[in-house]
């Protein structure tokens, strides 16, 4: 195979890659990123990537609005958390007024929040039950409510 035809084939591969994944190599499948790395500096590649880059910019600008801050609590309150040991119940109840949560909500919240630390210490050895996996993701959702970037992040500065 001649050098020219190889180069054309690789530019075609780059074009297909940009069409599907956009212009940012970090978003490409690893094998594509590796195999196309050396042609990215060429003018032909720059032209191919420019169009994809513009659409990437538009998509990146379309941030999702923040979700309601109380959504994780609403969800946690709507399902029954596995019954914790009695001593833990007493412990949580003692904090419930300060947290301004109903006891059930406090249990759910604490279950979800406590799970993250539990996961860190136990995940390597013991697989979590699906119920606790769900709680872990609910915990993640609470963080998302705080972290989700609004469309005017610069305004917060």
């Amino acid at each position: 195979m001649s050098k020219t035809s190889t180069s054309i084939e690789r530019l075609e591969a780059l074009s297909r890659c940009c069409e599907a994944y956009g212009a940012d190599p970090a978003r490409w499948p690893a094998e594509m990123r590796a195999s196309l790395a050396d042609i990215l500096v060429t003018d032909e590649a720059a032209t191919l990537m420019a169009e994809a880059q513009e659409l990437d910019g538009f998509l990146n600008a379309a941030t999702a609005p923040r979700m309601s801050e109380d959504l994780p609590r609403r969800i946690a309150a709507s399902f029954a958390v596995p019954k914790p040991p009695a001593s833990l119940v007493d412990f949580v109840r003692s904090f419930a007024p300060a947290l301004r949560l109903a006891p059930a909500g406090a249990l759910a919240g604490l279950g979800a929040l406590g799970l993250a630390s539990g996961m860190m210490s136990a995940s390597a050895q013991t697989p979590l039950t699906p119920e606790y996996e769900a709680l872990a993701y609910l915990d993640d959702l609470s963080l998302t409510a705080m972290d989700e970037e609004g469309d005017l992040a610069w305004d917060a500065e």
């Binding site: 910019g57 959504l71 996996e133 993640d140 469309d151 305004d155």
Partner: protein
């Protein structure tokens, strides 16, 4: 992550929150039935959430992106330049949401998982229960559709990019 993906699919914060709540309720009720079989829990979570979104879409037929509500951080903008910029950003987001809403569901889902959620092509294909080749085809057709939808507004959408960068820096 589930909320953001649901928002992309449904175009409405309220509908997305309902979908998230339904996802967790369904997970909770069916958790005992889940068997890993090599799949990550996250993949299962996404699959449940996205199926709920697709069900909602089929019931409501079409999504209508809601315009970004005034108030909140938007209202904190001070000065005429910032207000113009706020309006520009809101209009741009609406235009892009509208273009996404016009895509066929599967193309929108592929873009949601790969671009917005930054999942790998293998994970996204697994969630959608299709091959990676099929996923790439959906992505390419979806991005082409977006480009065509946004083409008439291209100048307007890029018009204030420089100003936006200045505000970001300051």
């Amino acid at each position: 992550m589930i909320y953001a993906a649901s928002y992309r699919m449904l175009g409405s914060r309220h509908a997305a929150e309902d979908a998230v709540q339904e996802t967790f309720l369904r997970l909770w009720r069916n958790a005992a039935k889940w068997r890993p079989q090599g799949a990550k829990f996250e993949t299962w979570l996404y699959r449940v959430a996205m199926n709920i979104c697709l069900d909602q879409l089929r019931k409501s037929k079409r999504i209508a992106p809601e315009e970004a509500a005034p108030g909140g951080m938007d209202a904190q903008a001070d000065g005429a330049d910032r207000q113009d910029q706020t309006i520009f950003l809101r209009e741009r987001r609406f235009a892009i949401d509208e273009a996404l809403a016009q895509l066929p569901e599967r193309q929108r889902l592929a873009i949601t998982l790969c671009h917005f959620q930054e999942l790998s092509n293998i994970e996204a294909a697994e969630i959608m229960e299709i091959s990676v080749d099929a996923l790439e085809s959906l992505l390419a057709r979806g991005r082409r559709g977006l480009r065509e939808s946004l083409a008439p507004m291209r100048e307007h959408l890029t018009g204030n990019m420089d100003d936006e960068q200045n505000i970001n820096i300051n």
